[in-house]
Symmetry: C2
Amino acid sequence: MLPTFRSQRGHVTPLLLFLSSLHITSGGKLLVVPMDGSHWLSMQSVMKQLKENGHKIVTVAPEVNLHMKPSDDLYTLKTYPVPFTQEELEEHYQNTVNGIFEELPFLVKVVKVYKMLQTTSNMFFSTCTSLLFNEELMRYIEQSKFDALFIDPMMPCGQIVAEYLGIPSVFFLNGIPCGLDSEALQCPSPPSYVPRRLTTNTDHMTFAQRVKNLLMYMSEFFLCGFFYSPYSSLASQFLQKDMTVVELLSHGSLWLMKADFTFDYPKPLMPNVVAIGGINCAGKKSLTQEFEAIVNASGEHGIVVFSLGSMVSEIPMKKAMEIAAALGTIPQTVLWRYTGEVPSNLANNTRLVKWLPQNDLLAHPKARAFITHAGSHGIYEGICNAVPMVLMPLFGDQMDNAVRMESRGAGVTLNVLEMTSKDLSDALKAVIYDKTYKENIKRLSELHLDRPIHPLDLAVHWVEFVMKHKGAPHLRPAAHDLNWVQYHSIDVIAFLLAVVLIVLYISLECCLFCFRKCGWKKGRLNKKSKSKSQ
Amino acid sequence: MLPTFRSQRGHVTPLLLFLSSLHITSGGKLLVVPMDGSHWLSMQSVMKQLKENGHKIVTVAPEVNLHMKPSDDLYTLKTYPVPFTQEELEEHYQNTVNGIFEELPFLVKVVKVYKMLQTTSNMFFSTCTSLLFNEELMRYIEQSKFDALFIDPMMPCGQIVAEYLGIPSVFFLNGIPCGLDSEALQCPSPPSYVPRRLTTNTDHMTFAQRVKNLLMYMSEFFLCGFFYSPYSSLASQFLQKDMTVVELLSHGSLWLMKADFTFDYPKPLMPNVVAIGGINCAGKKSLTQEFEAIVNASGEHGIVVFSLGSMVSEIPMKKAMEIAAALGTIPQTVLWRYTGEVPSNLANNTRLVKWLPQNDLLAHPKARAFITHAGSHGIYEGICNAVPMVLMPLFGDQMDNAVRMESRGAGVTLNVLEMTSKDLSDALKAVIYDKTYKENIKRLSELHLDRPIHPLDLAVHWVEFVMKHKGAPHLRPAAHDLNWVQYHSIDVIAFLLAVVLIVLYISLECCLFCFRKCGWKKGRLNKKSKSKSQ
């Protein structure tokens, strides 16, 4: 993983250059400012490799969190107090999950979702202020002289720290809501073929879909304002200079984007974006004895893997019974990650487990289908292992993710609230027995895996690059130094139009002048000739 | 170089998949349609590696050419007759080179350059028709069942063949004049910060430079029409369907672009573009005894490498003497690739050679400076080996290339026609003794070489990818399926504006109606009250 040691064809690393870089390629210091949840889980694979390469890693996290636990062999965890308790946090997340399955009138649901999001947003924001105004921790960070920050920019807090310390940062992300990522990258993203989040559009849109896409594009500013605008004020206050969130994020040196064009639709990219989609498929292990036994016992029919993600491990009984009934209609053994009360109609082929090694199970040749909530991690594991999917999106961008897989013929999407037992049963039978689903996902998988370098190596390379070279300013487009009018050449077009108009006006005036002159002469001549004739 | 064998973390290639792909990864068939000149020289490094990987390569070239000679151990050469002779071709190129050094009034020069370009264009076009209408050769190509075409798309002929055969193609290019590459890729290229070719603008432009850039952008359509429009007619005629050059090129599956952001300015890229700038630095060898002796004899002062590219090996005597005088003012040994008459004032430190191993010499620790015509190959060799440059651009995009290096503080640009002996001497002394030039080029070199995979491996991977997967349609943006109005959402904006106007109109009419109604009632009431009071 040491770039300077790599066998670069014909390139012999000068000894001096190698020595000067040694402290970074083998002993750099990295500060990690992560986000809780599944985002954090895949960030760790990069940290693990960086640690193996000899770097020192410090992670800062709120005392109250879901997944960010101390891990002495991987990183030093520095926690800071926040103004809410572990119980409040867990209760909020459980309420959010329960809310998904509540069947309420549309407007009531919208208000409820809005309130949930507001609470989440308030929790994130108070976490951020708790970090920034924790003098002791900030002093420690400042004194530690980190080479770079490794940040999940979904919450722009990490970048405020980077900005404050004046050190470069690497982002690790799926994307940022409301197209803030494209905006901060100055990356063109034409709404005519780049579907906006939450529209469930594909890249091939009808006229009506393009109208919806443009309306979403225009309304994002207001939709996300309530979440991101407080960070603009916070950053401006903390850094003592005016700073919007877009400007703040635009200072990220390198963006490790969990994108891949077997999953995402092709669109423009900027030079400081590195696509590392499928990074979470790395680190495959063999199954434990317990799971190996279950899989082997499934016989020729094989297995179906069923998980609704790290956040949702139990669902209301009514829905669970509907699902259990459907699962009983197929001959495959179903491994269902589920921690709730056991549905009374659970069939013999269904095994409830509190946790399952999802990627390892999907990699098994006996995996026939994957029932997933369509989180990007799960989908990539489905693609890596060429397992067709039944997609049950729950919230956020999962609906968009599901549509992408369905539009590529690699899965069937169901509305988890509206679906019946039969719908699920039909969908499962389709993806298992209709060969086109398997063929499509196999083709996607072959395209995805045929890459010159593994996304994990790519991610580690670019983090080390930023640490070693103190950023990557040569990848930053000059567009950042232009305002909106300049970027769109509106001033230049106005100037050229003015020139054209002035030239036209002067030409016209000249013509008129000549015309008048001639007309006047002619008039005079006419007069003269008339007076003569008289 | 076999992608399926690569140690992809945690990915075990299924045996069946591996076997089915075996005929491509070790025995595919590739048809190469190159361009003559330096373009062809760097294309061969990729072909060499592909040959080593077990692929069969056939190259088609005109019988009359400069560099494309048979090479049985690398490819099978199939030639076709063209309606001009070797003497005519060589004479035309010599005239072109001589034309550069002629000091003529501006307008006379413009006319002369235009005529030269027209002759070049005619030669290219007749070469293309000679290939397409050579029935025997086209039958051979058709029957050979190639997996893919490897094309230099500067001349769109290769893509007409690909289109005719219905097989995918990989492009290998620096760029295509007039921004045809961006257009065919549907890649946004805002003229506010992406400098157009031949403007000598950088990515940071003043208002006047942005005006110049936009004017160039708008005039490219006319500037290049005379060169490319005949190919639209030819393609339409040959393929029996309407086809513009932009549409033709847009069907290229993958674009191997000789770009790197230590040389190019950062700008948007499309997913089917792979940057392989610096690919020509590969394959470095040790110096021959003859050159090793010269370099060693240079002592502590070291050497200066001087070449004006593969096309220009002799220059008018007056200019040669000016240059010779300047070279005599520095203590370094100068190795000058020059085949003309020896200047009488040639100093002892200057060695004239008919050919020099440019990259190997620049790689030597004693290399102090590089005098170059600013062709992209030479510049990349300067960057790879961290040698500061004196740039003497001669034609085409060389002026732009020189400006890029100068704007990064890695070289000094001279106007070869206007420069004096002192100018060259001063420039040489500056890049050799002013440490900032060395520091800047060293930094660029470090950034350029710190990459996760060598550009040659990347190029070979993607050619094999296209051969194996029969193209890369998952990387083709949906923008290609939209027309100009749709792409810019003009129809959607017009529709939304119409809706807004109609709503406003109806609201206004309603208000007026209510107003009239109220006004009328009020009027009537007033009338009534008046009549009552009367």
